[in-house]
């Protein structure tokens, strides 16, 4: 398979994840959509690493996974804190910093 197939698939997955962030309003699902986008980026990194025959891209992909894990932990902590304080779990209602 050509590498460009993987890149187009990764673009499509990224677009689906971005659409989920636009459409869904629950913070939990928005975090899931962020995972979709990060994984699409990982797929592109690995495809480029394969195209170059160089493993540096794979190290980059592992670092992206570390960052994604950190983002998940902090995001889920925020959701649990919002739930504890009985704030609405809806990103449109959390607009205090909007000015």
């Amino acid at each position: 398979m050509d590498v460009s197939w993987y890149l187009v698939l990764s673009a499509l997955l990224f677009a689906i994840g971005a659409g989920g962030v636009l459409i869904r309003r629950s913070p939990l699902v928005i975090l899931l959509c962020l995972e979709l986008m990060l994984n699409a980026g990982n797929l592109a990194l690995l495809a480029f690493s394969r195209a170059n025959g160089n493993e540096d891209g794979q190290v980059f992909a592992l670092v992206v996974m570390v960052v994604a894990a950190c983002e998940v932990v902090v995001g889920l902590g925020l959701i649990v804190a919002m739930f504890r304080r009985r704030l609405p779990l809806n990103v449109d209602d959390m607009r205090e910093l909007r000015g």
Partner: protein
Amino acid sequence: MEVIAFFAGAIGALGGAIAVIALRNPFYSVLALVVHLVSLAGLFLMLHAEFIAAAQIVVYAGAVMVLYVFVAAYVGGIEEPIWEPIPGQRLLAPLLVGALFVELSIAVLGTALSSLDAEGPTVQIGFGSPGQIGRLFLERFLVVFEASSMLLLVAAVGAIVLAGRRRDDDASATGRGHEAEAA
């Protein structure tokens, strides 16, 4: 054979991704994301990224998704409003998503890099194996390795601070704090 494997993985990944944003119950969305991640791990294997594929299954589909399932079960069903908070949001979003996809595809395919139209060079045995990745991490990317370990530590501490139980928070959040403590 390789084409079949690619399209099987691609259909799994795409189906999982669409199910994540289409299903209304967050719990089912998490399960759909597991399908998506496992299919992506298959694609990673086809790209000779064996260690990344294994880490994807163990770390993502295993540990991170268990965390998601716990939070989805703890928070319970989040009902999303049927009405649109921003007028035309659900109509405009697919258009913007289509535009984004076209733009990304043009950016990727329009580069006309000749290496993208081939399978890539032949790689030696052991490309992407744990040994190779570990050697890179401990020699060339040692600073990156240490920085990511610090990042994980900070994130763990931050999550404990964020989600930890504080008595004054529970009591002063709303008037219903005392009922929760009694329960």
